[in-house]
Symmetry: C2
Subunit: 534 residues, 2 copies
């Protein structure tokens, strides 16, 4: 069953190897874990629902405390602390489970009639507070889209598949693979996040180098709004005025509820493999990656860990003897302390993969890269969606883990990366606490790349103090990002947590444009209020 207060299925756990624990203890010390409250305790604290009962929408709505608890929070560290401590704050007053667009229309009419807040809920995997209800006088109805999870049309010639917006990653891929197709969209949240959520929050997957971000995959669909149904027809491309898909992408529930998503799919590839290079230092590694992407080498994924992340990953991997051998080999080849690990994916036809691997070897050898084959790449592929489970293991050892991500142009990558890492590393110094910080670049573009930084710190004696430490790290770093040429989010959206930082990025007139759209479609701000725009 799905964990009510953490990530994923509770039958699945990941353990941190002893060496990994020792590594962290050495860096930031140890701490007793904070105690988790039980689901039943939290359910007992849920106040009565404020939803009007006499409605034709009532049969769609579950007002049980457990449903309301399970839909109150996402997966940010703040959400974790809230769920673990039981100090959750606001619960939705009910959870609706529409089966089709007509049900969604019914819910919108219901919301309008009673001035309800309406929060669309996909996989509940937001790490930016998208689905958290805010305290307000009007009741909150969360709309869980999970029953709309079918492949309803497959156009083989045009390679367009139509899905219910609540279809989660595994059901997207399994329904397509049965016909020989793939979407190829693999965010780390793949196991739970949904195709509608990907569109609403402008998601990006690990193989976006080949398949594109959700912006490139989203071909059209349907959105139910308070003004009626908004159908976006599919065109391969158009110059007929602004692209309305781009108004929906990243709209985060403020314009309406996405019910149907049409996506551009691909035939399953002839070949796929993942490989690893090591570089002696960051400068050479980063330059090699930039050259690869600016050269348009046909890779499907590329990820570059900095020295700290490389060291951490090797330490946390377990298998100290094997890792020791690898490190000796690398050291002999010039990649010793400070080495950086680059993982890349080859996906496509035989000719494409062959040409790409030649180019990778050529460019990487110019920057002293050492090729180590596919063994570590295979490991990466096996564990690509399991990292969130490690958070669970670390939590039980008294460690809090969070990540921050942005994207910026190449000429600003080093500057911004260093600012972020330094701010996180020094952020708890006044508490005499250390933070363990490491970074990778994951999504690559000719113009720049994403920066994805992980930070680990010991939990404090209380939930309140742990939350306060997190908030200080998160907010000062977010401010630093937008003040220094980074986007507030490359792949996780805005939600409520990033909304205060959006105006710096979008500017006064940009915010005017977004606000005017929201006001046009939702003049009373019933739809996911305080999300995206405060």
């Amino acid at each position: 069953m799905r964990r009510w207060n953490g990530w994923g299925d509770d039958n699945f756990t990941m353990a941190l190897p002893d060496q990994g624990h020792a590594f962290l203890a050495d860096r930031i010390g140890t701490s007793p874990a904070l105690p988790d409250v039980s689901l039943s305790t939290v359910c007992d604290s849920v106040p009565p629902s404020r939803l009007p009962a006499d409605s034709d929408a009532a049969p769609l709505i579950d007002c049980s405390p457990e449903a309301r608890v399970r839909h109150a929070r996402g997966q940010s560290l703040a959400d974790w602390l809230a769920m673990r401590s039981g100090n959750i704050g606001v619960f939705p007053d009910g959870v609706a489970r529409p089966r089709n667009s007509r049900d969604v229309q019914k819910l919108l009419r219901f919301a309008k009639r009673h001035s309800l807040q309406l929060i669309p809920y996909g996989g509940g995997t937001s790490v930016a507070g998208h689905i958290n209800p805010v305290k307000a006088d009007n009741p909150v109805l969360t709309v869980d889209m999970s029953d709309m999870n079918r492949l309803t049309d497959l156009n083989r010639e045009s390679q367009i598949a139509t899905f219910g917006a609540g279809t989660p990653g595994p059901l997207v891929e399994s329904q397509l693979r049965a016909h020989g197709y793939t979407l190829g969209h693999y965010p780390q949240s793949f196991e739970l996040s949904t195709i509608g959520g990907w569109v609403a929050s402008r998601s990006s997957g690990q193989q976006s180098l080949r398949y594109g971000r959700i912006e490139q995959l989203f071909a059209g669909g349907s959105i139910e709004t308070l003004q009626g149904t908004w159908d976006l027809p599919t065109f391969p491309a158009s110059s007929a005025g602004p692209d309305l898909r781009e108004f929906i992408l990243g709209s985060e529930g403020r314009l309406g509820l996405i019910t149907e998503v049409k996506v551009r799919i691909s035939r399953l590839p002839e070949q796929e493999s993942f490989h690893v290079f090591f570089f002696p230092d960051w400068e050479q590694a980063r330059t090699a990656c930039r050259k690869l992407v600016q050269n348009r080498t046909q890779l499907s994924m590329l990820r570059l860990s900095n020295g700290a992340e490389t060291e951490t990953q090797l330490a946390l991997a377990g298998h100290p003897r094997l890792i020791g051998l690898l490190e000796s080999f690398l050291s002999l080849r010039g990649a010793g302390s400070g080495k950086c690990m680059m993982t890349f994916g080859l996906t496509g036809s035989r000719h494409q993969c062959k040409a790409a691997v030649k180019e990778v070897r050529q460019i990487c050898s110019e920057y002293k890269g050492v090729y180590t084959g596919t063994r570590l790449g295979k490991k990466w592929a096996e564990k690509r969606f399991t990292m969130p489970y490690l958070r669970e293991a670390l939590w039980k050892m008294g460690y809090a883990v969070d990540t921050l991500e942005t994207a910026t142009d190449w000429d600003n990558v080093d500057n911004l990366l260093e600012l972020i890492e330094k701010n996180l590393r020094d952020g708890l110094k006044d508490k005499n606490e250390s933070t363990h910080v490491f970074t990778h670049l994951s999504h690559f573009y000719g113009q720049g790349c994403s920066i994805y930084t992980t930070y680990v710190f010991r939990v404090a004696d209380t939930y309140e103090e742990t939350l306060s430490r997190w908030r200080s790290l998160k907010n000062t770093t977010s401010e630093l990002i937008v003040q220094n040429g980074g986007t507030i989010s490359h792949q996780h959206g805005v939600g409520k947590d990033h909304a205060p930082f959006l105006p710096v990025e979008k500017g006064e007139l940009g915010m005017l444009a977004i606000r005017s759209l929201c006001a046009t479609f939702d003049p009373d701000a019933l739809l996911n209020p305080k999300t995206l725009v405060e």
Copy 2:
């Protein structure tokens, strides 16, 4: 000097070979050309300017009749007929030539103070009426951006170049090539159209398969609006809410005047070549092209002429002996009557081009394609921007030429193509006139492609009747396109000519979104009124 009433430089003319003339005469007959009026006659007909003279903007503005004539019309067939007949209708009351953003701000204040209409003018190459003033009580000021034509910044690491919005294609490329870079954006209007115009109208270039449409190339920039300056910062990608670049792309002057454009550039490629295949029939040719693009074969351009276009191009090429030999060779290899010509471009590294050509040969041979080398491809590349000059030659022989274009999903390509061709072919039957119609597919996507249809008909005895025939062909076919799953424009924008057809494509709520944006930024509809949205 630039032709005042047609395309391009008046030192440059193209002749139609005798065989070409005979071919057209055989298909649709001959007709005496209509007489052209002179520039001076038209200048004499220009009414006095209604612009207020006492303004700090006055030194920027040219109210001479010739400037006003030269900025009154674009390059649609209706514009040609207007300029050739002298029946131009509305002239701008003056033409401003700002040198920088401050000048543009000054013009906006001037417009606001006196309720002037403001029309941004790039290369004046619109074929959809973007820059034509409409009859109204308030005076019209056209803003010619051509003095803002410099490369002002080149960021080599991030591969971003900053240009003044009025920079035309050749100045974009020459300024970049001096540093070893290219933008790679080659619309047929390349010689005259500007980088700001490309953004405003969502342009697409012939090598978009490699370099992307202007949507992919436009990284950010500045727009001067009536609400202030709107700066769009550059990010490689972002999930922070709606992508505001996409609000500006295709805005056609309705939100403000684009003054500065930042674009994603590439290193000049190692290799580039253009090649030609012939296929026995349309079905096999079209399928091969679809397979190529769905296979993600790294081509830089791809164009497929249908049987009628292939025949017309070979007939109009001249060199009957050489063409005869080619046709005999092709016929022996199975590509006889009804054959279709496919041109493709290879651009990139040695490894990329090698892999791509292998895939092209493999896929094309599955569909009975006959490879003919690079000779015809080279010819295509030499003449890629000169086709508009042929229109001039045909006009002088009594023929009117126009094109219509759209894009649609693969499963609708044949259906829509046939509807368009049939409607154009039969459109003048009630006048006992024939139309010569042919088509190519030019821009290819996994999901579908563009359809570009050319039609040639004899001019009538009068300008009025010729215009009326054109209007009937254009409007009935445009209606057909939007009612049958095509976009009203894949690469030419909406302007005033396509505006009546936009609501079918965008839907009621899509139009609401666009209108609300226009009203937010320009509540009094001063900026390019009747364009994009009627």
